[in-house]
């Protein structure tokens, strides 16, 4: 790690500027934007621009093709892709050739987007196969003949990824970043293809300063947040402290870690430096959503609209705002708009799924979640949502599968485990359910239900010892106070259990606990009476044991009637 952090900033800056020029030549605007941001963040006083070779601007364009290149490039910039492709169709030198391929790709993509139905939920995935097959075969042939340059590889990789040929895509992207390390888009495309830390470590990455950025980025992408944060922080120390990209990445990591306040703080910091930045703002609004800061959200939404109404981020921010106001239809409308602008916009899919769930439109929700996991398989919320949706439509087998995936993605999130356990319970796989609940308790129960569930399950299984343990743990958890009914249930169970065990001390203790709550006073009193009488009997004779059974059988109907009363009073 140490050697990763030794950067020659002058070299870095040279790389950046060169990269920006190269990307601009090829119309790769997002890469050059990122590079320029980074470049802006590095300020070196003694840096001389003259170090950049003046020829870079025209390198890769042969003299005779320059005119047609210029023409095509302007068409490209005007988004007339077919025209751009037509005028570069016979080009041989690398840059015009790339423009040719790239504008063919863009033309297809643009047409597909334009033709896609307005209702984003109806989008089907295989439409682009036919469009891309021709381009794909060209690239495939050139790739096999080793005629592709780095940028061409990038395009090939993008198409492969689109067609879901991930393995090949990874190799192609790797080759690409070896050839042109400053092509940040390639790194970004590669990053979601990495499944876990092991795979990340196994990659053969070029020795280049940008690699560290990629590794840190990917760590956050695969939810290894702490490592990612520390890497980015080191980068900040190594001279990139002014790079806003790093700050935003750290904020995302905190968001993933559910450290809401910290993340909000970082986002505010970012907004103060770059008030017109829209990237990741939807995440900020998610955080505000969690904190239920309605006014903040309203302000943010208005601001985002002011900056640019037609950005997926803006639409998501507005959607979130409507969502917190309970206007789910409107929220869906805005999420759909976001998706129209960018069909691969992950968070919009997931959020739209949530909204559909709110509207009880389970099928639409499933569709949305499905798209979300299509876009990014690691979106545990979508998997979780899928599980929920399938549970609602009474397909627990499906639900189980999705919960499982969610659990695999977030092994330390008790919510997933709890849901998994519940499904197992429904499917009558109690032992599995118990395992899930136990694990949920072990990893730190967020909502505090695991123990209760565990207790109930043991109760069902007539495993009194374990049930008592679980209930004890449950009542000792102060969070359980919010759920009165379950609390009463736990107390009653404990009390009855101890009566049974003739441990009248504890029984009385729990009965008194029940007594504290108004609604259940009669039951508590009846238990106390039983205790009292039992005590007398125990002192009296062995006969008591015979009576115990009777007593117990009395208690149970009482309990039930008590609950019924509750219901009626409430």
């Amino acid at each position: 790690m140490v050697d990763l952090m030794n950067f020659n900033l002058v070299e870095v800056k040279q790389d950046l500027i060169k990269g920006i020029i190269e990307c601009n030549k090829r119309g790769l605007i997002h890469s050059s934007k990122w590079l320029a941001e980074l470049n802006q963040g590095i300020q070196i006083v003694e840096f001389e621009n003259s170090l950049i070779d003046a020829n870079t601007a025209n390198a890769g364009i042969s003299h005779e093709e320059f005119d047609s290149y210029m023409l095509a490039k302007t068409y490209f910039d005007c988004r007339e892709y077919d025209r751009a492709a037509y005028f570069t169709r016979n080009s041989i030198s690398p840059v015009p050739r790339f423009i040719y391929l790239y504008s063919m790709y863009m033309a297809k993509e643009k047409k597909r987007l334009d033709n896609s139905p307005d209702n984003a939920t109806l989008l089907t995935g295989n439409a682009h196969l036919k469009d891309l097959s021709e381009l794909m075969s060209i690239l495939n042939e050139e790739y096999n003949q080793k005629k592709l340059d780095g940028y061409g590889m990038y395009l090939y990789g993008v198409i492969l990824k689109k067609l879901d040929l991930t393995q090949l895509a990874v190799t192609v992207f790797l080759e690409c970043v070896h050839l042109v390390p400053t092509l940040w888009s390639a790194w970004i495309e590669l990053s979601p293809l990495i499944q876990d830390t092991e795979q990340l470590r196994g990659l053969n990455l070029p020795k280049h300063w940008i690699k560290t950025f990629f590794i840190a980025h990917t760590f956050i992408e695969i939810f290894v947040n702490d490592t990612g944060i520390s890497l980015f922080e080191e980068l900040q120390h190594a001279g990139f402290e002014k790079c806003i990209y790093i700050t935003s990445q750290i904020a995302i990591a905190y968001h993933n870690k559910r450290e809401v306040d910290k993340a909000i703080e970082m986002f505010q910091q970012i907004l103060s430096i770059d008030p017109y930045r829209l990237e990741n703002l939807d995440m900020y609004s998610n955080l505000l959503f969690v904190r239920e800061q309605k006014t903040e959200m309203a302000h943010l939404a208005h601001k985002a609209v002011q900056i640019n109404k037609y950005r997926p981020e803006t639409c998501c921010v507005i959607g979130n705002y409507y969502s917190i106001r309970g206007e789910h239809q409107k929220a869906i409308l805005y999420f759909q708009r976001a998706l129209k602008l960018n069909p691969k916009y992950l968070s919009a899919w997931t959020l739209m799924g949530h909204e559909f769930m709110e509207l009880k439109n389970t099928n639409a929700a499933i569709q949305s979640y499905r798209q979300a996991v299509e876009v990014n398989r690691r979106d545990f919320r979508a998997w979780y949502g899928l599980g929920q949706a399938y549970e609602i439509i009474k397909m627990p087998f499906y639900g189980l599968h999705y919960y499982k995936i969610a659990t695999q993605l977030r092994p330390y999130d008790s919510r997933m485990l709890l849901a998994l356990g519940e499904t197992y319970e429904k499917l009558d796989k109690k032992s599995n359910a118990i395992k899930c609940y136990q694990k949920a308790c072990n990893v730190g129960d967020i909502e505090g239900f695991a123990m209760l569930k565990l207790g109930k399950l043991y109760e069902d299984l007539k495993d009194q010892e374990n049930a008592v343990n679980a209930y004890k743990n449950y009542v000792n958890d102060e969070r359980s106070n919010s759920e009165k009914n379950s609390l009463i249930h736990a107390y009653l169970y404990l009390a009855t259990y101890y009566v049974e065990k003739k441990n009248f001390e504890d029984a009385t203790y729990y009965a008194h606990k029940v007594l504290e709550i108004d609604e259940t006073k009669p039951e508590a009193k009846s238990i106390l009476k039983t205790i009292a009488s039992s005590r007398v009997k125990q002192e009296g004779d062995d006969m008591a044991e015979v009576n115990m059974d009777l007593e117990q059988s009395n208690i149970v109907p009482q309990e039930i009637s008590g609950e019924d009363m509750d219901m009626s009073t409430a």
Binding site: G125, L163, H401, L420, K435, K439
Partner: protein, 720 residues
């Protein structure tokens, strides 16, 4: 006034008197006629030629010239009458040819045939010799031209025979024509483009007609090159493959060979054809397993097949035809002496043979041959590129237009096809191709009813228009009207004797109607015509699979794959995505034969050829499930369902797998789980095989899909 008249009269008299002394040369008029003919001023030419004929008192040459003028003016009956009246047709070959041509043009086929039969053409030849003694003008026609004349006469005869539906006799005559003059390309075209001859027959023919006397070596080379280009067909590219040449070497194939031989003995036709074939080593070397079938069902299709065997067996054999015409030739032709080499000529016209071959690459015929080859290899885009080039030079080149229709159909470019069909109909409404284009367009846009109407129109214009029948059949096949489709294909068989495609299609249709035995027979027929056609082989594999002979099917598919890869290697290309079904089918077979890993591998390859295919994902998932890798299986099923939401089969299997997956605890705990899993593996396989119905259904489905694809892939192979 009167005096003026008198003066004129006296002038005239004077002139007449002068004419007595002066002479006029009829030859001048003859030259005039010739010039006028060259200038296409036929009426004036006729006027003057009539004068010449009168002047020369019906000198044969002049009569001929006059008739020719009439012919040019499309007054066929008149021209014929002139010749008949002079009775020259019985003495002079030129006149006879012209007369026959006239009769042909005015559709009086029977009369023409009677005339031809009444005269022995060979005798006429000798009589021509005799006549030359009397007639110095016709004497100028040297022997070579005479051969050309005979060739053209034979060609005409063939055409007439074809018109009266005596096809086998017609073929004979075409071959005679070629034998007489190798330059009679029309005859070769007629043979090749109507798919009359089998491929090996075509090769034999070329071998045999290659003249040694009619031209010098360089020309021979060029000629051979050009003609071979003409014959270049879809299966020719495979036949050169060395590996395929000797497949018997592998023990497997040796076994197969025995099987084939038995099979062939059973089938009279095939044997017959085999004896014809000179390239036995290549032919039939590919595996014909015979399905154990003892009884023969006389279904309608069977009957047709049977009839077909009988008729085609008796109809024609190229060997006999060739030998007959050889006989003729030996009697008459060897009067030729070699044409002197052409060095004496204008140096600008002389090029070396090598150069000539190189330059000829640019000729339209060679270009279109290349385009066709691309078409047969399903490289439609590349093919269209060449076609554009050709059409740029010659926008009405018919053969090219055929290929273009095919390409456009394949690429489903209905707009271009619409435009093209419109233009064609505007420019030449009398050509069948125009209506063929229109019909194809309607079929492409899924209006088969109209499509068929226009195809019928095309057939009305040319009764021998085979491609129309094929397309006609396809349109029925698309609507799942199998019987009608077959009927159309049968008609196509009659028209295109040497083409294996109708057999292939009938086989496919039989397979779809679950008549596997028949299907197999038709595929063997197709193979006997095109022994190395991988498409046929592949279809045969599908049929084997359908009849649950999975081992055989796998074997066949594997052979197909190795042939295909060999072909690709030769062309230095990677496997094209049109072979994705083959790989998938191999995957299915391997799965059936319990070779799960291999099966998975094949499916994966198929996926990389054609990504985002829901069927492939389902198959992968299925194999994974059988291997016990349930979660991966589920993932693949999901991918499949994401691409195709309402797929019943996939969701059924998915449900089964998911239910089994319940037991499979996430790796929260280790240890005891493993045992559990093994148990499940067992469970699920049992479960899945018990739900065998669904599985079979998939396969059927898969294959159906393939067939459709195959159909469309081959749809217009016959265009040209």
């Amino acid at each position: 006034m009167t005096t003026d008249l008198i003066i004129e009269e006296s002038d005239m008299n004077e002139q007449f008197n002068n004419l007595d002394q002066q002479c006029t040369d009829i030859d001048c008029y003859r030259k005039l006629v010739k010039n006028l003919l060259d200038l296409r001023r036929y009426k004036s030419a006729l006027y003057w030629s009539e004068k010449v004929a009168v002047l020369s008192q019906n000198y044969p040459k002049d009569v001929y010239q006059m008739a020719q003028c009439m012919y040019m003016l499309k007054e066929y009956n008149r021209a014929g009458h002139v010749i008949k009246r002079s009775e020259l047709e019985k003495k002079n070959l030129l006149c006879l040819t012209l007369l026959i041509e006239c009769l042909y043009a005015s559709k009086e086929y029977q009369e023409a045939l009677n005339l031809l039969d009444s005269l022995d053409i060979e005798d006429l030849n000798t009589s021509l010799h005799e006549e030359t003694d009397i007639d110095p003008v016709i004497n100028q026609i040297n022997d070579n031209t005479k051969n050309d004349l005979l060739a053209s006469l034979y060609l005409l005869k063939a055409k007439i025979l074809e018109a009266v539906d005596k096809r086998s006799l017609a073929i004979d005559c075409y071959i005679h024509a070629l034998q007489k003059s190798v330059y009679m390309t029309e005859a070769l075209d007629a043979l090749v483009h109507h798919e009359i001859l089998m491929s090996w027959e075509e090769k034999d023919l070329i071998q045999n007609i290659m003249p040694t006397k009619q031209c010098n070596d360089a020309d021979l080379h060029i000629l051979k090159y050009l003609y071979e280009q003409k014959l270049k067909k879809y299966y020719s590219s495979t036949s050169t493959s060395p590996q395929m040449g000797h497949p018997e070497k592998t023990p497997n194939n040796a076994q197969l060979l025995n099987a084939i031989n038995e099979k062939i003995k059973a089938s009279e036709t095939v044997e017959n054809r085999k004896s014809i074939s000179t390239s036995t080593a290549v032919k039939g070397s590919i595996k014909l397993f015979s399905t154990p079938s003892t009884q023969t069902i006389m279904s309608p299709a069977n009957k047709i097949l049977y009839d077909l065997k009988n008729t085609s067996a008796s109809s024609f054999s190229i060997q006999s035809s060739l030998s007959r015409s050889m006989l003729n030739c030996s009697r008459t032709v060897n009067t030729n002496n070699k044409i002197p080499s052409r060095t004496a000529k204008n140096s600008g016209d002389i090029i070396t043979a090598k150069n000539a071959l190189r330059i000829l690459e640019n000729s339209v015929d060679i270009l279109i041959a290349n385009a066709e080859e691309l078409f047969y290899n399903c490289e439609y885009k590349k093919c269209l590129k060449i076609i554009e080039e050709i059409l740029d030079r010659d926008p009405y080149h018919k053969r090219t237009l055929f290929v273009q229709i095919g390409c456009l159909m394949e690429l489903k470019d209905s707009n271009a096809l619409y435009y093209m069909a419109h233009k064609l109909v505007d420019f030449n409404p009398d050509e069948p191709i125009s209506w063929y284009a229109v019909g194809s367009y309607y079929i492409l846009i899924n209006k088969p009813e109209q499509g068929r109407r226009y195809l019928t129109k095309a057939v009305l214009l040319d009764r021998l228009f085979g491609p129309a029948f094929l397309t006609y059949g396809h349109s029925f096949a698309k609507e799942k009207e199998h019987d009608q489709a077959m009927a159309a294909y049968f008609k196509a068989i009659q028209l295109m004797r040497g083409c294996h495609l109708p057999f292939l299609y009938i086989g496919v249709e039989c397979g779809l109607t679950k008549n596997y035995e028949m299907a197999e027979k038709f595929f063997y027929q197709a193979m006997s015509l095109a022994p190395l056609d991988v498409f046929v082989l592949h279809e045969l594999g599908v049929i084997k699979y359908e009849s649950e002979l999975y081992e055989d099917a796998e074997e066949i598919f594997r052979t197909t794959l190795s042939m295909v890869t060999e072909m690709c290697k030769q062309k230095n290309e990677s496997l094209s995505d049109r072979w994705e079904p083959l790989l998938n089918n191999l995957g299915h077979c391997c799965r059936k034969n319990k070779k799960l890993t291999e099966s998975l591998d094949f499916h994966m390859r198929a996926l990389s050829l054609k990504p985002l295919n829901s069927q492939t994902y389902t198959s992968i998932g299925f194999v994974l499930a059988l291997m016990g890798r349930l979660s991966e299986a589920v993932e693949n099923f999901h991918k499949s369902l994401a691409l195709k939401r309402d797929d019943v089969i996939t969701s059924t299997i998915l449900k089964t797998v998911l239910e089994d997956l319940v037991e499979d605890m996430v790796e929260i705990e280790g240890g005891d789980e493993k045992e559990n899993q093994q148990q499940q593996k067992h469970d699920i396989t049992a479960n899945l095989t018990s739900s065998g119905e669904t599985i079979d259904y998939i396969d059927v489905y898969r294959q159906l899909k393939f067939d459709e694809r195959e159909d469309s892939a081959d749809m217009n192979l016959e265009c040209d």
